[in-house]
């Protein structure tokens, strides 16, 4: 196999992780902030939640394909489409955990003792949320890697000259009969990446459970 194929493979994997990491950095802090704002249950916030529900109800994959295709082939467009499709679910997920954490007895006691909001959040609420946040973030990472591969496979990803696992799989498809390595190598790397992320997520979940922290 030519040397440039290996470099493409390596660069494609790095690109996938770069995109997934960027999407994670965009989605998670924003979702935490909005979930905190939407924690209380007044009519305006219920209305906003309803809008979020609409986004969740739309077919995720179709929306992603449409947005990525329509907004054009750039990294920012890809990130924006991932952001729009993933953030509503993320907010919903984090909101549930915030409501649960704020309802716990020690948080209520701290609140009754008059601790400030910021201190309450960083000292009593956030430590209870490391488990769900990290597990969800890893699963989001996994999902974004898959999405990026799918978009590039269909030719709707960013810059056609930059290597990506999805594009390498798509290109290797035509060479499957006479040289299956071109197809199988990116597939194996993709499966390994997903499997490793899934295992890390499972390990985190078990670790937090053994330390008495709840996930779910």
């Amino acid at each position: 196999m030519p040397f440039d194929f290996y470099s493409k493979l390596l660069q494609g994997t790095l690109y996938s992780f770069f995109v997934a990491g960027s999407a994670l950095l965009l989605c998670v802090p924003f979702s935490i902030l909005v979930a905190l704002l939407l924690r209380k249950n007044d009519p305006l916030r219920r209305m906003l939640l309803f809008v979020l529900d609409v986004f969740i109800a739309l077919p995720n994959q179709i929306l992603l394909l449409t947005l990525a295709g329509v907004l054009g082939g750039s990294l920012s467009a890809l990130l924006l489409s991932v952001f729009i499709t993933q953030v509503p679910g993320c907010i919903r997920h984090f909101r549930v955990h915030f409501i649960r954490a704020y309802g716990e007895v020690h948080v209520e006691a701290a609140n009754a003792l008059g601790i400030g909001r910021v201190r309450l959040f960083f000292l009593h609420v956030l430590p209870r949320l490391w488990a769900p946040l990290s597990v969800y973030s890893i699963s989001l990472l996994k999902r974004v890697i898959l999405m990026e591969a799918l978009l590039n496979f269909l030719g709707l990803g960013f810059d056609p000259l930059s290597p990506s696992l999805g594009r390498l799989i798509s290109e290797g498809r035509s060479a499957l009969f006479w040289n299956p390595v071109y197809f199988l190598a990116p597939v194996i790397i993709l499966v390994l990446c997903l499997y490793v992320l899934q295992s890390v997520s499972d390990r985190f979940s078990l670790l937090f459970r053994s330390h008495g922290l709840r996930y779910l």
Partner: protein
């Protein structure tokens, strides 16, 4: 009352999704202007697009159109679009139904094995991405064995192969969900009472557990069909099937916004109505238990 509330929610969700798609597409000419370079041809394209969308430079006219939903509804029910979408939809529907049937068969096979083995097998299958499995199925069953060359006149064969691949990938999730639902019912108190009364296990299974499993099974079935509709783009693109997914993909590639808009609307409506049907089934199930 619950029904009316759900109906209201559903209508509002449909309307909001419509507004969302409108918002998205309303921005398109502007977005395209950023994407397209300054070459003459592209500018001509942009001008044509503007004319087609009737986007004027004034602010109030598009806003008025947007609020009164003039443009969107007329686009959705354009004469040439509607039969085109429906024709492609029938193929996607056929493909999804056949895939569902094969999913039942494959997940039934999971129930035949030892539970531990089934779990491991389903874990393995769940880890495999669709973009890796579908090309392999195409390769082994289309190119290698020449059973059905992709894109040939043998449409049924191609549909069957695509459904086979989709059913194979969907079956582990279906099996897991169904197993979980059955386990939930098995743990209910009424099952314990029936056992204590000495009712035969086969009767408990056939009469009581399976009867209660019908509603979750139906809602699961609807959700599976939903995932098939969403995954149709990749499947139809790979198997070269002229369904709705391929139509959407081609419309996106050609930037044919007059087709993208009704397609996304149609798929969103389909998605929402199926979700809502699943929700009604869940409500029914809560009453039954």
């Amino acid at each position: 009352m619950k029904f009316l509330k759900s109906l209201l929610l559903f209508c509002a969700a449909v309307f909001l999704s419509y507004l969302f798609v409108r918002c998205l597409l309303w921005q398109l000419p502007g977005t395209l202007a950023d994407v397209l370079s300054d070459s003459e041809t592209n500018l001509k394209d942009l001008e044509l697009l503007r004319q087609e969308f009737q986007v004027s430079e004034s602010f109030w006219k598009p806003l008025w159109n947007f609020l009164t939903l003039n443009w969107g509804v007329s686009q959705l029910f354009r004469e040439e679009n509607f039969p085109l979408i429906m024709n492609h939809f029938y193929l996607t529907l056929r493909l999804s139904l056949l895939s569902l049937l094969l999913t039942f068969v494959f997940s039934g096979c999971f129930f035949l094995f030892n539970q531990k083995f089934s779990e491991r097998l389903s874990n393995l299958l769940l880890a495999l991405p669709a973009i890796a499995i579908y090309p392999l199925v195409v390769f082994f069953l289309c190119d290698w064995t020449s059973y059905c060359p992709a894109g040939s006149s043998a449409l049924f064969k191609a549909i069957f192969l695509a459904a086979l691949a989709q059913g194979l990938l969907a079956s582990p999730r279906f099996y897991r969900e169904l197993e979980w639902e059955l386990d939930e019912i098995r743990r209910q108190r009424f099952v314990l009472v029936l056992r204590a009364k000495g009712v035969r296990p086969s009767k408990i299974w056939s009469v009581h557990i399976l009867k209660n499993a019908i509603a979750p099974f139906l809602s699961l079935m609807l959700l599976t069909i939903l995932s098939f509709f969403a995954g149709a783009v990749l499947l139809e693109a790979l198997f070269d099937l002229p369904g709705m997914g391929l139509l959407l993909l081609e419309a996106i590639r050609a930037r044919d916004f007059t087709l993208i808009f009704p397609l996304v609307m149609f798929l969103s409506l389909l998605h929402l109505s199926t979700l809502q049907a699943g929700r009604f089934l869940k409500i029914g199930r809560a009453h039954a238990l």
